[in-house]
């Protein structure tokens, strides 16, 4: 896919309008522009079908570095501008890219950077744990903050209102009815029909970016593994990849293969859990019982082989901690063969079930245009025609040596998302087998080398929810200066507000589950 380099062509199109300084950073294509051209660049980028992938800021001495990451045909470009800290403001890219909306609001809350012309500059991550004019990610903000005894609820948040005969509101959360993370949903409805949904997240904001500062690489990897517990492998891998880039550390081939096995095992476990849960949300308990059973067996193998059911802390800077014995490899292969047989039986029963057909087809529709505008990732994007997968389009070891077949659907409904996940399970099972076959003897961990102060890295991997982008900058003495993880949920959550429209309120849980955003990965 990534044979054609669009970057040269794009630069020539910019002409004299925007001056791009190409900064030499290992492993990153870094373009630096003047801050006043920030929005103009986005306008030109969207014309050329660049995908807006991530945005974040950093403070380095008296400067703010504003970053936005773009992707096209598997080629990533990191766009950067520098702002003086006396009056940090720049034109918004959210006017061009809806995907950038919440990210800019996060940067506004955390750094006090003003995005001029932003279509919705209400607070996002900030509730009432810190005041309006203080900014936690500025270097002069103490990590302890200045908390009061009991943090007040954010009751004055200006939600969108609806008026008119027969319209009413349903506030849901933050504490939900199930065993699930907290967040608030505000519905406007007429009868059972959803007219509008507004999400209010940020409840599980626990200062991950701030408490990352000053950590050692090992400690940062542990933290990254807890950005979102269900994606512990994905986030840990992305963060370690970024740190390894910064330090110029190359991991051994065996470690890369084991990382691949871990990531695919995580994908399978989550997809199985979610397919079951989606069916459970439309009262088809048979599938829930079968899939939770298969998931439990899978997690037990994780515990036997890797020593942890969810595979936490297996990936470390420089490699992995857990080697695979021959016995473990054959255990995994045997399990995969059994799982294939079982899945074939269960999926056939699902496919032929008319009540599932009635509830899952056409429900929770997300159009290709909306999915593209919000930069929707992973199975949500791929069920709405977004043909992108980091493993295929910007492959990293060990995916650079195997064929990754990307599942794609274009109906954009809940059923499509289920089918994409099922196909992804099958691909993952094949990949695990291939990785095992390719295992060569050798080290599983390279010795760490202290990175130079100021060095940075950008780790990009395909987690089970989709593309994860992790940016890391080192300080002196092997200490982390900045860590920003972009979970796919940060983009996918916005798509939920759109895909529930014109569905009935009782279908919200299944719509939500079909997307399954991480609250923790979003709130940080």
């Amino acid at each position: 896919m990534s044979t054609s380099k669009w970057t040269a062509d794009f630069l020539s199109r910019l002409g004299t309008e925007i001056t791009v300084a190409q900064i030499d950073v290992p492993s990153i294509t870094l373009w630096q522009i003047e801050s006043h051209a920030w929005q103009r660049f986005a306008e030109l980028a969207v014309q050329q079908n660049l995908r807006w992938a991530a945005g974040w800021a950093e403070q380095v001495q008296s400067l703010f570095l504003i970053n936005a990451c773009f992707e096209k045909q598997g080629e990533y470009v990191l766009l950067r501008t520098l702002l003086d800290d006396s009056n940090p403001e720049l034109p918004s890219q959210a006017t061009v890219y809806p995907a950038a909306n919440r990210s800019e609001r996060h940067t506004q809350d955390m750094f006090g950077i003003k995005f001029i012309g932003h279509p919705d500059n209400r607070r996002w991550t900030r509730h009432q744990a810190w005041t309006e004019n203080s900014y936690p990610l500025r270097k002069d903000f103490p990590v302890k903050g200045t908390p009061v005894g009991i943090t007040a609820p954010d009751i004055h948040y200006p939600f969108i209102k609806s008026h008119g005969a027969g319209t009413y509101e349903i506030p849901v959360g933050p504490v939900h009815a199930g065993i699930i993370e907290p967040g608030h949903f505000r519905f406007q409805a007429v009868g059972e029909l959803i007219l509008n949904l507004e999400e209010r997240l940020g409840y599980v904001h626990k200062g991950i970016e701030k408490i990352a500062e000053g950590r050692t690489p090992e400690s940062l990897a542990r933290l990254a593994g807890r950005v979102s517990g269900d994606t512990t492998v994905g986030h840990c891998w992305a963060a370690c990849m970024a740190m390894e880039q910064a330090a110029g550390v190359e991991i051994p081939p065996r470690a890369a293969l084991i990382r691949g096995i871990l990531a695919e095992r995580e994908r399978v476990a989550n997809h199985m859990g979610d397919i079951g849960a989606i069916c459970n949300d439309v009262a088809f308990v048979f599938a829930q019982m079968q899939f939770t059973r298969l998931r439990e067996l899978w997690l037990r193998t994780n515990a036997t082989v890797f020593g942890h059911r969810l595979l936490m802390d297996q990936i470390v800077p420089g490699g992995v901690v857990c080697d695979l014995s021959d016995a473990s490899c054959s255990l995994i292969k045997k399990e995969i063969a059994e799982l294939r047989t079982e899945l074939a039986e269960v999926i056939l029963a699902l496919d032929l079930n008319t009540s599932l057909e009635d509830r899952l087809y056409t429900a929770g529709f997300l159009s290709e245009q909306t999915a593209a505008a919000f930069g929707t990732l992973g199975y949500v994007g791929r069920a709405s025609g977004q043909d992108f997968d980091v493993r295929r389009d910007a492959p990293y070891a060990p995916y650079d040596r195997v064929m990754v077949k990307v599942a794609l659907e274009n109906q954009g409904d809940i059923a499509s998302r289920v089918w994409v996940r099922y196909k992804e399970i099958r691909t993952a099972l094949r990949l695990i087998g291939e990785f095992i076959d390719r295992l060569v003897d050798g080290d599983i961990r390279t010795e760490w080398q202290m990175p130079a102060a100021g060095s940075e890295g950008l780790g990009i991997v395909e987690g089970w929810r989709g593309e994860i982008i992790s940016h890391i900058r080192f300080d002196a003495d092997n200490k982390i200066a900045r860590f920003y993880p972009r979970d796919p949920s940060q983009l996918n959550w916005a798509a939920l507000e759109k895909l529930v429209l014109n569905n009935i309120v009782p279908d919200f849980p299944v719509c939500n589950k079909s997307l399954n955003g991480s609250y923790s990965g979003n709130d940080l």
Binding site: V143, T146, T151, D154, K206, G229, N353
Partner: protein, 177 residues
């Protein structure tokens, strides 16, 4: 429909009991069953046969939630011991709280606690809930659950396994006479 029945029949009962051998965590079958019997005995005595748990995520990374979910899978099937999860704190005997308590969730947790009728017990599940874990106390996090509401039992682990969760619940029953 026949396919569903066939699959159900061929799967059989996987719920773990004393004689159960296949698929089981090594050596755990016996333990799980014994644990369950003890829990059931306590619940019968103190809670008239049934205990209602309201799970509250006060800021976790969602790892603990995954393992709490697993308690309801057919292997553990915790409901057979009279333990069930309810949708409202007003229906609950026990609050099972995970995560460091984020400051943004502090009031919500306090209100959930107030909404739970007496007598009530609070179990802090997972390292974060127990001691703040990887996140500790910061501008955004109150740390351990006990910094916000009284805690009766703690279940460590990152995340605690389903078996550890069951043991922890038993510990709670043991405390309350």
């Amino acid at each position: 429909m026949l396919r569903i029945f066939k699959k159900i029949l061929t799967t059989g009962v996987v719920t773990e009991r004393f004689s159960m051998r296949s698929h089981a965590e090594r050596g755990n079958e016996d333990e799980l069953e014994q644990l369950g019997i003890q829990i059931k005995r306590h619940i019968d005595k103190q809670f008239s046969g049934s205990i209602a748990i309201r799970q509250v995520d006060a800021g976790s990374c969602n790892g603990c939630e995954l393992e709490i979910h697993a308690l309801n899978n057919p292997f553990y099937d915790i409901e057979r011991f009279g333990v069930h999860f309810v949708a409202s704190p007003r229906h609950a005997d026990v609050l099972l709280v995970t995560g460091p308590v984020s400051r943004h969730m502090q009031t919500a947790l306090l209100r959930t606690y107030e909404a739970t009728p007496n007598p009530k017990w609070v179990v802090a599940a997972g390292d974060c809930a127990a001691c703040g874990g990887e996140f500790g106390v910061s501008y955004a996090s109150c740390g351990a659950v006990s910094n916000v509401i009284p805690v009766d039992a703690v279940i460590p682990g990152c995340p605690p396994t389903p078996l550890a969760l069951m043991k922890g619940l038993l510990g709670l029953m043991g405390v309350k006479k």
